[in-house]
């Protein structure tokens, strides 16, 4: 803070260097910041431009509340499971004594799978565990009816299973370098000092990994929260999650109030924003030991 107060205006030069990033700033303004601002401002405006909180208040309907709740639940669960499974697979490869040969294919595959999201991913899962999918039919031949057990691909849990296909690889891609960053000497030092494996993980490894884990979790959360295509191709417009609701609203004003659309989108920004602010706060608190 004091740095800014001490700065003398006389020393200010013509900031010619800043002109070099002008194209980038213009692009970011026009196609990232201003469109987002438009949404934020619109959420607080009446249809004739006056200030109002009514749009936000109007979000408080049973249907919209449930959409937000489902979306948050979906994002939290897929981010958590994605982190957990991705972590398990990554540490299996890094520490579990698996042959070195599996590492490179796993990374390549993760790169592919984390980008294999959207419409084709939905098709792949429909073909596999949809009503006429490969596994569904195989299991039926074995006398197991997935439907009878309450599983339906076109439902919340179906969506969870599908989302994990890109969530887990994303976690693997980010966490493997972090696991590689754990030095063998730390493990050995802890060992020599008498720590058990559990103590090493609890007191050394996990605290060191914590920022990466947290960051990936926030990323996975936002990733699932904003995903439209997979859900839309899987279930069509009827599933009640926020991005699909917003999609329908943009296409045909299904809410019957254009500014309510702004409020809906604003809510999405707030939630992913909050997730990231939480991440940044926790990260700065846990990362005092980093340069």
């Amino acid at each position: 803070m004091s740095k800014f107060q001490l700065r003398r205006p006389a020393k200010r030069r013509l900031p010619l260097e800043w002109l070099g990033i002008l194209p980038f700033v213009a692009f970011a303004m026009l196609f990232l910041v201003l469109p987002t601002m438009k949404i934020v401002v619109g959420a607080f405006q009446t249809s004739d431009g006056g200030f109002t909180l009514q749009n936000l208040i109007d979000l408080n309907t049973a249907s919209i509340r449930s959409a937000y709740w489902t979306s948050i639940k979906l994002s939290l669960i897929t981010a958590l499971l994605g982190c957990a499974v991705g972590f398990a697979m990554a540490s299996a490869v890094v520490f579990g004594g698996l042959p070195k040969r599996v590492r490179s294919p796993l990374l390549t595959f993760s790169g592919v799978a984390s980008n294999f999201a959207g419409v084709p991913l939905a098709f792949a899962f429909i073909a596999t565990i949809g009503p006429a999918g490969l596994i569904t039919l195989e299991l039926r031949d074995l006398g197991i009816n997935l439907r009878a057990y309450g599983f339906n691909l076109l439902s919340f849990w179906g969506l969870v299973v599908t989302y994990l296909f890109f969530q887990i690889p994303l976690m693997i891609l980010i966490i493997i370098p972090a696991l590689d960053g754990l030095k063998r000497e730390w493990r050995e030092a802890a060992d020599v000092l008498g720590a058990t494996s559990l103590q090493y993980w609890r007191m050394v490894a996990l605290p060191i990994l914590f920022p990466s884990l947290l960051g990936t979790f926030a990323l996975l959360f936002a990733n699932a929260f904003g995903a439209v295509a997979t859900a839309f191709a899987l279930t069509g417009p009827q599933l009640n999650i926020v991005p699909i609701k917003l999609f329908a609203q943009i296409r045909g004003d299904v809410l019957g109030n254009p500014n309510l659309g702004y409020a809906l989108a604003f809510g999405m920004i707030v939630i992913t924003g909050l997730a990231n602010v939480t991440y940044i706060v926790l990260r700065t608190r846990s990362e005092r030991w980093l340069k």
Binding site: I21, S91, V93, G96, I168, A229
Partner: protein
């Protein structure tokens, strides 16, 4: 014990990832009753809309890559060379697309650039194409910037620039002849990743109402049974191809360096 757990975790994971791939492949071959055939693929490739939308998306991906490189390389270079104090801001901006959902961004576009605005991009097909390209550039920005910036970190930007300047090179020459070739691998990695993202993108294209590959796939999925898994196999192959190309250029560059 550890090894057993590791294998279990790994194999369960592999099973989860391989089953949908088998599922979609198997399903896509089942169009003809009672035997496996490539009928679904024949139907997909015989559909003129497939080629139209695919080449449209490919064109847009190319435009996005060109625009992205022209935008990101000079900026990342300039920030490293002259404006290290702008780094945190630039990095923050490049990470925003990971936080703000694409659907929100495109919603902003539609409202900001509608026919009654100062910049009525959505008023014409060309304008909308430009808008969509910008949208894709936004989506690819985090990956592109990260790739190029990492590439720049491995070379000594300041020394190279001073050396080029002392030999009389201008800014354009420095960027095109010195910096770009040195970060070519990074740029190509970013480009192929952009291609993988753009080619099947659905949300932006659908909401801007453009005839792209993503919306086409969605439409087909809503109306047909066997063509969608065939499309999924094709899309998966394209994604795999993009990642394979990234590996290829990276490996190639390592060999080049090793030779020197």
């Amino acid at each position: 014990m550890t090894r057993f757990l590791a294998w279990t975790a790994f194999l369960l994971g592999v099973l989860y990832f391989i089953l949908p791939l088998i599922g979609m492949t198997e399903f896509s071959l089942k169009m003809r009753r009672g035997e496996y055939s490539f009928d679904a693929y024949r139907a997909v490739f015989g559909d003129p809309r497939f080629w139209e939308t695919f080449s449209y998306s490919l064109t847009l991906a190319a435009a996005t890559i060109v625009f992205g490189v022209l935008l990101v390389v000079p900026t990342a270079y300039w920030v490293r060379l002259k404006l290290p104090q702008a780094r945190p801001i630039i990095e923050f901006i490049t990470l925003l697309p990971l936080v703000i959902p694409a659907i929100v961004i495109v919603f902003g576009y539609i409202r900001l650039y509608n026919t009654s605005s100062i910049l009525p991009l959505t008023g014409s097909a060309l304008g909308t194409d430009i808008l969509l390209t910008m949208g894709y550039a936004t989506l690819a920005l985090p990956y592109m910037y990260r790739a190029v910036d990492t590439g720049l970190r491995t070379i000594d930007v300041a020394t190279l620039t001073e050396a080029a300047q002392s030999l009389g090179a201008g800014w354009f020459t420095i960027l095109a002849r010195i910096i770009l070739p040195n970060v070519l691998v990074a740029v190509l990695s970013g480009a192929f990743l952009t291609l993988a993202i753009v080619i099947g993108e659905f949300t932006m294209a659908a909401l801007l109402n453009r005839p792209a590959f993503g919306p086409f796939m969605q439409l087909l999925g809503a109306n047909r049974a066997y063509e969608p898994p065939a499309l999924a196999v094709i899309a998966f192959a394209i994604t795999w191809g993009c990642m394979g190309l990234i590996q290829l250029v990276t490996r190639f560059s390592k060999h080049e360096r090793a030779k020197v």
